[in-house]
C-alpha cells in the first residue's frame, strides 16, 4: 500500500498534485524534500490526480521529490503523557521531550448528538471579577475574546489558565509570535500550571497550513479527556489567524471567495470547532475561550461577525480591561442564581451605577458643574475600575461580591444604590 510516487505533477501555493491510485480523501502523505520531510493531507481527488496540502509549505519542494501515502488520516496521540508537553501544529514535540506514537486518535471527529446535550449547569471559576461576577463563564460555553492587536489578550488567557478551576488546560496557539509562545510557557511553568496543561503551538514562523490543524488537534484531545470525566478548558489564540490561514488556502485553490476574500464555508468551519464545546452527562466537559482579534476594531468584519453568531456571548477586551458594556455571557443565567442571593442584583446594580458614572465623566470632561451625586459617582467609578476591572485582581467570587458591597458603602448611602432593602440589610458592611 505504501507505494512511493516520485513525480509531482504540479505545485501551486502550498498544494501539490501527484498521480496515484488507491488514495482516500483526507489521507496523509509524507513528502521527502531537500529541506526535510513534511506531512501533507489529501484535499481533493479527481480520477487519479491527487491534490495534497503540504503542511510545511511547498516552498523548496521539487517535482522530483518522493511522496509516500500513509494510508491513514491525521491523528494525534492521546495519553496522560501529553500533560505538561508542548507540540506543534502537526502534533510533533516542540519541547525536548520524546515524540508520542501510542494510542493515536483521529481528529475532526463527528459532531455531538444534540439530543444527548444537557442544559449547562456549572460555573467555571476564574478569580477574575469581571468574569465571575459580571459575565460568568459556564462549563460547556464557547466564548470569544474580541480584541484588537496590542491588547493584552494573551496575558488574559495566561491568567485564566493559571486561575481557572478546571482539571486540564489545552492551549492552542495559531500564528503566535514566538515571544508570546515563550511567555505562555514560562508563565504556566512559573505559576505551577504547566503540569495540568497541554500546549499545541503554531508560531507565525511556522508554515501556514500547520496552524489549520491546531484547533482540531486541541479539541480532539480535549474531547477524549472530557469523555474520561475531566473538566477541560480549551484556550485558542488567535482564531482570526486560523480564519486567515483558511482564506489563504482557499484562494490558492482558486475557490470563489464570499466576503472580503474569506471562503463561503467560514461559518461552518468555525462552527464545527466551537460546537465541540459540550457538557457530557456522566462525564466531563469542554469549555472554549478563543481570542478573536478584530481587524480595525470592526466587529462586523467577517471573522468576529461569524463568530458572534456561533458563540454564546463575547468578552470585549479594551484598554487592557474587560469591557462591562457589550461583554455578555449568554449562559450566566443558568448559574448565577445558585451562587449567592446577592449575585444577580449586585451584578445589575453595579453596572447600572457604572453606566451613570460614565455619564458623569462625560459631563466633567465637558466642563459642566458637578453635583454631589456626580462626585460620588466619580469616586465609585475609580474604585470600580481599580477593584473590579483591573485584570490583576484575583479573588474568589464571594470575596468579589463582598468587595462590591464595600465599594458601594464607601461611596453611597444605602437607598442611593437602588438595591432591594432586604439585601442591603443582610450584606451592607457595618464598618467601612
Amino acid at each position: 500500500m505504501n507505494k512511493v510516487y516520485s513525480k509531482i505533477e504540479s505545485i501551486a501555493g502550498n498544494v501539490i498534485t501527484v498521480k496515484a491510485d488507491g488514495v482516500r480523501y483526507g489521507d496523509l502523505a509524507q513528502i521527502s524534500a531537500s529541506f526535510g520531510t513534511s506531512l501533507a493531507e489529501v484535499i481533493k481527488l479527481d480520477e487519479d490526480i491527487v491534490s495534497l496540502q503540504v503542511f510545511a509549505g511547498a516552498r523548496g519542494v521539487s517535482t522530483g521529490d518522493e511522496v509516500r501515502f500513509l494510508g491513514k488520516s491525521m491523528q494525534v496521540a492521546f495519553s496522560e503523557d501529553l500533560m505538561g508537553r508542548v507540540f506543534n501544529g502537526s502534533g510533533e514535540p516542540r519541547d525536548k521531550g520524546p515524540a508520542l506514537k501510542d494510542n493515536m486518535i483521529p481528529i475532526g471527529g463527528p459532531s455531538f448528538n444534540p439530543a444527548r446535550r444537557i442544559i449547562p449547569r456549572n460555573m467555571v471559576r476564574t478569580g477574575i471579577p469581571m468574569i465571575d461576577l459580571f459575565n460568568t463563564l459556564v462549563e460547556s460555553q464557547k466564548l470569544p475574546i474580541f480584541s484588537i492587536s496590542g491588547e493584552p489578550y494573551n496575558e488574559l488567557l495566561a491568567r485564566i489558565a493559571l486561575q481557572a478551576e478546571v482539571d486540564l488546560i489545552i492551549l492552542g496557539g495559531m500564528g503566535l509570535k514566538h515571544d508570546d509562545y515563550l511567555y505562555f510557557r514560562d508563565t504556566l511553568e512559573e505559576g505551577g500550571a504547566l503540569g495540568r496543561s497541554i500546549l499545541f503551538i503554531h508560531t507565525a514562523a511556522d508554515p501556514v497550513v500547520e496552524g489549520l490543524m491546531v484547533p482540531d488537534i486541541s479539541l480532539a484531545v480535549a474531547e477524549k479527556f472530557a469523555l474520561e470525566g475531566k473538566k477541560v478548558l480549551v484556550l485558542l489564540t488567535d482564531m482570526t489567524n486560523f480564519a486567515d490561514a483558511m482564506k489563504e488556502i482557499a484562494i490558492t485553490q482558486e475557490q470563489v471567495p464570499s466576503n472580503r476574500g474569506y471562503p463561503g464555508d467560514l461559518y461552518s468551519q468555525l462552527a464545527s470547532r466551537y460546537e465541540k464545546a459540550v457538557d457530557i452527562e456522566g462525564a466531563g466537559s469542554i469549555t472554549v475561550l478563543a481570542v478573536t482579534t478584530m481587524p480595525g476594531d470592526d466587529v462586523t468584519h467577517p471573522v468576529p461577525d461569524n463568530t458572534g453568531y456561533i458563540t454564546e456571548g463575547q468578552y470585549y477586551l479594551r484598554g487592557g480591561r474587560i469591557e462591562p458594556f457589550g461583554s455578555l455571557s449568554r449562559l450566566k443565567q443558568q448559574v448565577n442564581d445558585r451562587t449567592r442571593e446577592d449575585h444577580r442584583p449586585l451584578m445589575d446594580g453595579m453596572i447600572k451605577i457604572y453606566s451613570a458614572y460614565k455619564d458623569a465623566l462625560e459631563k466633567q470632561s465637558m466642563g459642566f458643574q458637578m453635583t454631589d451625586w456626580d462626585l460620588k459617582l466619580l469616586k465609585y467609578g475609580a474604585l470600580f475600575e481599580q477593584e473590579m476591572m483591573d485584570l490583576s485582581v484575583n479573588v474568589p467570587l464571594e470575596k468579589a461580591l463582598d468587595n462590591g458591597w464595600k465599594i458601594l458603602a464607601s461611596c453611597f448611602e444605602k437607598e442611593e444604590t437602588g438595591l432591594r432593602s432586604s439585601l442591603i440589610e443582610k450584606f451592607w458592611p457595618i464598618e467601612v
Binding site: 439530543a115 463561503g264 461559518y267 464545527s272
Partner: protein
C-alpha cells in the same frame, strides 16, 4: 435493477460518480466506503458523470468506491407518529440514534423515521366500493390531541377502488389497512405510511386562498402592529444577540396554531436543548397536553453536515404540508434561513458555478421564493381549510440588511419583523424595530387605529432626536407630551416581559381591550403644568400600567388597576385630539 456507479472524484462533501445507467436529478444514492453507506443526493448530471452532495463527512472515501442509486428522490416518511419527534435534517430520529450510537453522530447510520413497533387505533372512514383519489382520507387514528387522517399516498398516480378495508382496531404502520384495484386492473395495498420527495410541494387541494385570518402569536407587537396571517410568511432579520432565537422560541410556545415545526437550521445546538428539555414539561393551554405533542423539531445544527442542513428546511416544510392536508394550521419556524442559504453557497462553490453577489448562487432568490411559496392557506378537496405559515429568521452579515439573503427574503414575505441592535442593547424585548418593520396582512385591530398609535410613535421619535440637539428646555410642552406618549406606548405596549407568566403571552381579546385604553391615553389632551409634572405623571402611569400588564386578565387586581388608570387619566384630561375623534367614536 437500479443504476450503480463508481466514485471518480472527491472535493469536500461533493463526489463525482461515473454511472452505468439512468440517474434522476435529486436522486438519492449511497456511497459505499469502509463498510458504511453514506447517503448522497445527485445535484448535477453531465454525460455519464453524476455529481452528488454527500450528507456526511467524506473523510476516507476513495476513488473507485461503489455507489448504489435508489431510484427515488430525497423523501420523507409520512404517517402517524411524527408529532413529538426530534429529527435531523434527513428525518433521522436523534434520540433513537443516541441510543444506538452513543454521544456522537456516527455517520452512515440511518434509522426509521416512524416507530414500527407502535400501534395505532385505526377507524375506517371509507367503504368497499369507494373510489379514492390520491390524498383522499380512508381512515383516522388519534395522534396526541389530533385526529390523524390516513390518506391515499400523494404520489399515487391512479384512483383506487376499495376492495377491502381494515376494521376498527389497532394496527402497526406497516400493516396493510386497505386493498384496492386501479382502473387499469392493478392491485394496490396501502399501509398507514408513505413517502414524499421533500423538494416537491404537495399540491393536492382545490384552491389556494388569500391569507386573511390572523395567526395569533400573543406577542403584542406582532399581533397588533405587524400581524401575520395564517398561511402567510414573515421574516425576522437581526444581528447576533438581538434575540431572533428567543422570539422564535416564545412564538413556538404561545402561537395559536395546531402544529408547530421548529427547524433549527445551522444554529447552536445548545439552543435546541432548552426546547428539547422544557417542551415536554410545558402545557399547551389549548389542549391541556404537553407542548411537545404538537411539536416536531428538525435539528440540523451548525456542526452537522452542511448538505443535510440544506435539506432540513425542505424536510420541515414537507411535514408541515402533510399536516395541512388534514385541515390543520401549521406554523413552521426556520432558524436560520441564512445558514440554509450558506449551505447552498457552499455547494455552489464546489460545483464551480459562476457566483452571484457575495458568492451566493444565482438561484438564491428563486430558491428562497420557492421555499416561502410553500406556505399558504388552502381549501382541501374535503372542503376543510388547512394552512402552513412560515416564519424564518435571517442572520445578515454584520447586521446589515442590504445583503443578498435579507433582500431576497424581503421580496417574498408578507411581514418583516426587523430586530434592532439599539433596542436589544437597551434590553427592550422584543427588539422588533417599531418604525422599520412592516406587515401586509390585516391583524386583530382596525388599521387606522394602529396607524394613529404608530403616528404618535414616529412623532415622538422625531421629537426625541430634536431634543438631543436643542435640549429639553428648547422643546415646547406640547411636543414634550407627545414625546412622553410615545415613550409610554413603547414601554407598556411594545415591550413585553417574557419572564412574566401573564405578560409573556397576551390573548387577542386582552390586546384589543388594552389597546383601546392606550388609544384613549394617546388621544387625550392632558392638563399637565410643566415638563417636570409631565415626566412624573407619565412615570407613575407607566408603573401602574406595568402592574396592570402583569395582572391576570379580569382578575380583581386587573379590574382595580384598570379603574385606577382610567381615573388617573380622566383627572388630567381636558379634551382630545381632533384627529382621533372618529377612532374614539368607534371605540365607544
Amino acid at each position: 435493477m437500479n443504476t450503480s456507479g463508481t466514485v471518480i472524484g472527491i472535493n469536500g462533501n461533493m463526489v463525482s460518480v461515473r454511472v452505468d445507467g439512468n440517474v434522476i436529478m435529486n436522486e438519492v444514492g449511497y456511497v459505499l466506503t469502509g463498510g458504511k453507506r453514506l447517503k448522497s443526493e445527485v445535484i448535477r448530471i453531465r454525460g455519464d458523470v453524476a455529481q452528488m452532495q454527500v450528507f456526511e463527512i467524506t473523510k476516507g472515501v476513495g476513488i473507485g468506491d461503489s455507489v448504489e442509486f435508489s431510484g427515488e428522490m430525497l423523501a420523507v416518511e409520512l404517517g402517524p407518529g411524527l408529532l413529538g419527534q426530534v429529527y435531523d435534517g434527513l428525518q433521522n430520529p436523534l434520540p433513537e440514534l443516541a441510543e444506538q450510537a452513543g454521544f456522537f453522530l456516527e455517520r452512515g447510520v440511518y434509522l426509521d423515521a416512524l416507530d414500527r413497533e407502535n400501534r395505532w387505533e385505526f377507524t375506517p372512514v371509507a367503504a368497499v366500493g369507494d373510489v379514492l383519489e390520491p390524498g383522499d382520507c380512508f381512515g383516522t387514528v388519534p395522534e396526541g390531541p389530533f385526529t390523524h387522517k390516513i390518506m391515499v399516498p400523494f404520489a399515487h398516480r391512479e384512483a383506487v377502488t376499495v376492495t377491502k378495508i381494515a376494521g376498527q382496531g389497532s394496527y402497526g404502520i406497516d400493516e396493510v389497512v386497505l386493498e384496492g384495484n386501479t382502473p387499469r386492473g392493478g392491485q394496490v395495498q396501502l399501509t398507514m405510511r408513505f413517502e414524499w420527495p421533500v423538494k416537491r410541494p404537495i399540491s393536492l387541494f382545490d384552491e389556494r386562498l388569500k391569507p386573511t385570518e390572523p395567526m395569533v402569536s400573543k406577542v403584542r407587537l406582532m399581533d397588533t402592529f405587524f400581524p401575520v396571517a395564517k398561511g402567510g410568511t414573515y421574516c425576522i432579520p437581526g444581528p447576533f444577540g438581538a434575540g431572533k432565537t428567543v422570539l422564535q422560541q416564545i412564538t413556538s410556545r404561545h402561537a395559536e396554531v395546531d402544529v408547530v415545526i421548529i427547524a433549527a437550521c445551522g444554529e447552536r445546538a445548545g439552543e435546541v436543548v432548552e426546547t428539547l428539555k422544557e417542551f415536554p414539561e410545558l402545557m399547551d393551554p389549548k389542549t391541556g397536553r404537553s407542548l411537545m405533542e404538537r411539536t416536531i423539531i428538525i435539528c440540523n445544527t451548525s456542526s452537522m453536515p452542511v448538505a443535510s442542513r440544506e435539506a432540513s428546511v425542505y424536510t420541515a416544510v414537507t411535514l408541515g404540508e402533510y399536516y395541512r392536508q388534514m385541515g390543520l394550521d401549521v406554523l413552521l419556524l426556520a432558524d436560520s434561513t441564512s445558514r440554509w442559504a450558506q449551505a447552498m453557497r457552499e455547494m455552489s462553490g464546489r460545483l464551480e458555478e459562476i457566483p452571484g453577489e457575495e458568492a451566493f448562487p444565482a438561484y438564491l432568490e428563486s430558491s428562497i421564493a420557492a421555499f416561502y411559496e410553500r406556505a399558504g392557506i388552502v381549501r382541501l378537496k374535503s372542503g376543510e381549510t388547512g394552512s402552513v405559515t412560515i416564519g424564518g429568521t435571517v442572520s445578515p452579515a454584520g447586521g446589515n440588511f442590504e445583503e443578498p439573503v435579507t433582500q431576497a427574503t424581503l421580496k417574498v414575505v408578507g411581514a418583516f419583523h426587523g430586530l434592532s441592535r439599539e433596542r436589544s442593547d437597551a434590553r427592550k424585548y422584543p427588539a422588533i424595530h417599531p418604525t422599520d418593520s412592516w406587515s401586509k396582512y390585516s391583524g386583530i385591530m382596525p388599521p387606522h387605529h394602529v396607524d394613529y398609535a404608530h403616528g404618535i410613535l414616529s412623532r415622538s421619535g422625531e421629537i426625541d432626536a430634536m431634543m438631543k440637539v436643542v435640549g429639553e428646555e428648547g422643546t415646547s410642552l406640547k411636543d414634550y407630551l407627545v414625546y412622553q406618549k410615545g415613550e409610554f406606548l413603547d414601554a407598556v405596549y411594545f415591550q413585553q416581559n417574557s419572564f412574566d407568566p401573564v405578560d409573556a403571552a397576551v390573548t387577542p381579546d386582552r390586546q384589543i381591550s388594552v389597546f383601546a385604553l392606550i388609544l384613549h391615553i394617546l388621544a387625550a389632551e392632558l392638563d399637565l403644568a410643566d415638563k417636570d409634572e409631565a415626566r412624573r405623571w407619565f412615570y407613575q402611569l407607566r408603573q401602574k400600567f406595568l402592574d396592570y400588564n402583569g395582572a391576570e386578565w379580569h382578575s380583581d387586581d386587573f379590574n382595580r388597576l384598570e379603574k385606577e388608570i382610567r381615573e388617573m387619566v380622566l383627572s388630567k384630561t381636558v379634551g382630545s385630539d381632533p384627529a382621533a375623534a372618529s377612532i374614539l367614536e368607534e371605540l365607544k
